[in-house]
């Protein structure tokens, strides 16, 4: 079942003519000519679509919070600042099929009553920005954007905004600051963007994949979308698969397949690269807890873990993780967990905006302490120190970057404490090139 990527490999799908030949822009025709904005919102609510950027908040509900004061413009801003390590699905979708996003932007803007919308793309993807701008021009030329779209009386201008290289701008209020031409410092909430967002006007910020899914929902109805998936994990999800698998790439899966199938089936990742064994997975982008092989495949109650919001988080952080953005990073037995955790800690240290002291100082400490452990200069008390620092960042910052920085460190220690201890107790072994600790009796050890 493919919704977003069904035609993604069709040659020329990036052009409006080919895109339309494959059913493109039917949702715009239907929504603008046959539906009211509230009816579109109602279908999105019924679909159960949840925010695909990582938070998983219901999209229809987020839309329903939008304030609608008379005479004040409202905005839809698409969050295409994809920067969570392990995540490259939005990059792929916009690069291959820009009209899929643009169609969703038109439908969603109509539902929200926005007459100007922006797609905020991370600046590193400048080539994708050019692809989007070309596609937007095509849409204007065909009367799908601009004044009185398809004679419906609805006007929409759509612009692409380039970021400048900052992970924090994926946080919605930091993104709005950035779109206003400022540093990406997250805002205190409330007020939420739905009330005071871009230039203090009511604003909805949604991820690329969430917005793209709305066209299919308009065409087929919210109920049809909700029939795909399991329970509250409805529809399909783009999963970015990277690391030690045979077929890295972006896969659109129906939510609800097993993690085991996703890793080992030839339809998806195709298994672990030849001759190697699964050691650990970071299932939803760098910020979600890492899980060892046995825990990612099976829940604590012995059930096969599914690719759903609920199943992946089953057991809480003690034995579970999160679906997050769907950045699925697979590691085999050659992976040094300490080194991998160091790259994540360094990432969050570099990307902390510096506004809140627990995050600004704490991410620096975690980076520094893990680095010395990795270099064979760790101290016995360092592991508890890391846990303590992580605990003191978590929940004590304006935005979730603090939590995102703390979780990978505390989870790596929770599940691979022996590997950190080995680095501290045996620096002469741990600092050998390519040295990796093998846990006695583990499924990935020989």
């Amino acid at each position: 079942m493919k919704i977003l990527t069904e035609h993604i490999e069709v040659p020329g799908i990036e052009t409006i003519d080919v895109y339309r030949k494959h059913g493109g822009y039917q949702a715009v025709e239907k929504a603008l000519k046959k539906m009211t904005p509230d009816e579109v919102t109602e279908e999105v609510k019924k679909s159960g679509l949840r925010g695909r950027g990582g938070a998983g908040f219901p999209v229809g509900m987020k839309w329903s919070f939008l304030a609608k004061p008379e005479g004040v413009p409202r905005y839809l801003v698409c969050n295409a600042d994809e920067s969570e390590p392990g995540t490259f699905k939005d990059h792929y979708l916009m690069w291959k099929s820009p009209h899929t996003l643009i169609e969703g932007m038109i439908v969603s803007s109509f539902a929200l009553g926005a007459n100007t919308s922006y797609i905020y793309v991370r600046g590193e993807l400048m080539y994708v920005i050019h692809i989007l701008e070309k596609a937007i021009q095509e849409a204007y030329d065909k009367g799908l954007l601009g004044k009185n779209i398809l004679g419906s009386g609805y006007d929409l201008d759509l612009f692409v905004q380039s970021g400048g290289g900052a992970y924090i701008c994926g946080e919605e209020t930091a993104l709005l600051e950035s779109l206003e031409g400022k540093r990406g410092n997250p805002r205190n909430k409330p007020p939420f963007p739905a009330v005071k967002g871009l230039w203090q006007c009511p604003t909805v910020v949604n991820n690329v994949e969430s917005i793209a899914a709305t066209s299919w929902i308009v065409n087929n109805g919210g109920d049809a979308y909700a029939q795909i998936g399991v329970g509250r994990s409805t529809g399909t999800k783009l999963i970015s698969a990277s690391g030690h698998i045979r077929k890295p790439g972006v896969y659109e899966i129906p939510l609800g397949i097993t993690v085991e199938d996703f890793i080992y089936s030839d339809e998806w990742c195709g298994g672990i690269r030849d001759g190697h064994k699964l050691k650990a997975v970071v299932a939803g982008g760098s910020s979600v807890p890492i899980l060892p092989a046995e825990m990612i495949l099976t829940t604590a109650t012995g059930e096969k873990r599914l690719m759903t919001y609920e199943s992946l988080s089953d057991g809480g952080f003690a034995t579970g993780t999160m679906l997050g953005s769907g950045g699925f990073i697979v590691m085999d037995e050659t992976t040094c967990i300490v080194h991998n955790t160091l790259t994540f800690a360094r990432f969050y240290h570099h990307e902390s905006c510096g506004q809140c002291s627990p995050c600004r100082e704490g991410t620096g400490w975690m980076d520094k302490v893990i680095k010395r452990i990795e270099l064979g200069q760790g101290r016995k008390e360092d592991i508890d120190l890391l846990v303590d620092v992580a605990k003191k960042i978590e929940g004590n910052t304006i935005c979730p970057l603090g939590d995102a920085a703390a979780w990978p460190v505390s989870a790596a220690i929770r599940h691979f404490r022996d590997e950190f201890e080995w680095h501290i107790e045996h620096p002469e072994l741990a600092t050998q090139p390519g040295a990796v600790y093998m846990r006695p009796g583990a499924s990935w050890s020989n």
Binding site: R122, G165, H244
Partner: protein
Amino acid sequence: MEGKNNIVFPAETLDLVKKIIARYPEGKQKSALLPILHLAQAEWKWCSPEVMDYVASLLSIKPVEVYEVASFYTMFHLEPVGEHVIEYCRTGPCCLMGGVEVYDHLKKRLGVETGGTSADGKFTVKEVECLAACGWGPVFQIREKFYMHLTKEKVDQIIDELGK
């Protein structure tokens, strides 16, 4: 309008600047700052104080409003750079794919440390965080182009080609 040291965009870039400013409501022209900084960096390679002052004048904002933004975002070079700036991804997934070895080879080949510029002024090597290309790693970027699935051999080919 002209900045110090004859810093001024070519006419067609100035047209583009006007179009970018028109994307936002009246009085919100500051929103054009990041897009215009990108244009400025494309024109002058790096964001010198003179370039940033010029950008401020185009948007009728204070120079400090440009400095604080340019220094916040990693894409803007605040010091001179070589002809080609190679920005390699140092984050987890690229490292899993052998990134560290490949990047060490790159630096050795060019005789530079991270952040340095090769003696002939052709290449500056910078390390950056995740470029959203994790399934195609190791990855680096030169201007707008992504170079994916890097190996030592590929790095040599790219350097040979661009170094000509």
